[in-house]
Each structure stands twice: as C-alpha cells, then as structure tokens.
Point group: C2
Chain length 132, copies 2
C-alpha cells in the first residue's frame, strides 16, 4: 500500500508502532500493543483493532479467540508521529487475557526502597471460560 | 539498586519499558515515553515523572525546562509486566512540547484508501513562550 497517511507514521526499525487502546467513555487505558503497517491499514478497513503479535509474529485481530473485539471509534497520532492511540468500545468489558477489564491491574505501593506491585482489579471472567 | 519491585519489570533489550502518562481526573492520555530502571526508581523517589530520553540518551525530568512537571499520583504495571502506566497531575495543563494539552492531537479522518491526520486540539501556549 502506498497511502500517504500510512507513510506519515514513523515506523520503528522493526516496522512497528506502539499502540495504546483507551476505552471511549470511561477513558480507561485498557491495553498496550504494537501495529505494523498492515495492522493499522486493516484496523481502519475493518473498524476493529488489529495488532501485530510480536511473540507469534503475525497479525492479531484482537478478540478473534476470546470474542473481546475492540470497535475502533477514533484513531489518534502523537506529536512525533510514532505512537498511536485508539479509542475503542470494548466487547465484554474485558480487554485483558487474565479476564480483567484493563491490563493495568497491578498498582505500585510503597517506596523506592520497599515497594511492591499489588493486584487491585478483579477478574471479571475466568480465562478458562474465555478461551474454551 | 537491587529492589525486588524493579526486578519484576520486564525491561526490553535496551533496558527500557514503555510508559503511558494519563491525567488523573480526566483520564486523558497525555503522552508516551520510555523509562529505564534508574528513571522509574527516580520517579518513585521524587514523586514526579522522570523518563529516559532515547534521543538525548539521558534521564529527562519532565518539565525541567518547560515547568510542565507531572506529579505522579499512581503507578500501574500491565499483565505482561512490560508496560507502565502513570496517573499524573499535569502542571500547566500542557504535556506536549507543541504547547498542547496532550501529544495525541492528530486525528485520523477518512478511509483506508483516502485517509489523513487532522490536527484537532488547540495550542494552549506557544512553544516560544514555554521554552525561553
């Protein structure tokens, strides 16, 4: 594809761009992932979030297994043109593979010398029930 | 430093972790940056966001020039322990070096074949007035 709007994105040395998925309405940050050029083009064409899975090295239509698709309502690009922000409607209210609303469920407590990450968000649906 | 909580973070091959800064209250996503181990430790110790500048290759106490510091109210870690989310109070209501509230001021309009990034957020203060 030779689309000008895709060329404006500053893809990194791996051809990827970081992507933040934010829930429309609540503005909760749901997850963070990566896209390549093809993933961003498909996201626009489909109206649903399609990421690049760095571990599986393939396109990942979010929700393809879990049903927790993300309808994309808005796409933003940052000042340096190297980060994308999606505003999405999250199917099932669950974005995280652990069955939680958001992936950011561990909260830092304590001080620099004596700190810890505490789980502060509930599991809404057990992963076993999500990934049958 | 040998802090256990810092060891739990999965630093990438460059010793960095992606960081999302979100405004407490509005929940607006303000900016995206990177931290190394030292930056995250200093952020906790100081209570203000300290990033790692990949271009300048040094610690960057956000607001050190502009005065637009970010008071850190909460720190979250994601499910894979490789992305950090900060909830911040943004001094001056301006996070972006362009003088805008958020760095994500370019909105995608159009279709896959005929799309464009449109600037949709105002400049609150001219950069010349910020960086004297």
């Amino acid at each position: 594809m030779s689309s000008t709007w895709l060329n404006k994105v500053k893809w990194d040395e791996h051809g990827l761009v970081p992507v933040i998925a934010q829930e429309a309405g609540s503005n909760d940050v749901l997850m963070f992932a990566w896209m390549n050029r093809d993933a961003l083009a498909k996201t626009v064409a489909l109206g649903e979030a399609v990421y690049w899975s760095r571990s599986r090295k393939k396109l990942w239509h979010k929700g393809e297994e879990s049903g927790h698709v993300q309808k994309v309502l808005e796409i933003r690009l940052d000042c340096d043109e190297d980060v994308v922000l999606l505003k999405v409607a999250q199917a099932g209210d669950i974005a995280c593979h652990t069955g939680r609303h958001s992936c950011f469920f561990q909260k830092f407590e304590g001080s620099e010398k004596d700190g810890a990450w505490e789980t502060v968000e509930p599991v809404l649906k057990e992963p076993d029930a999500i990934y049958k």
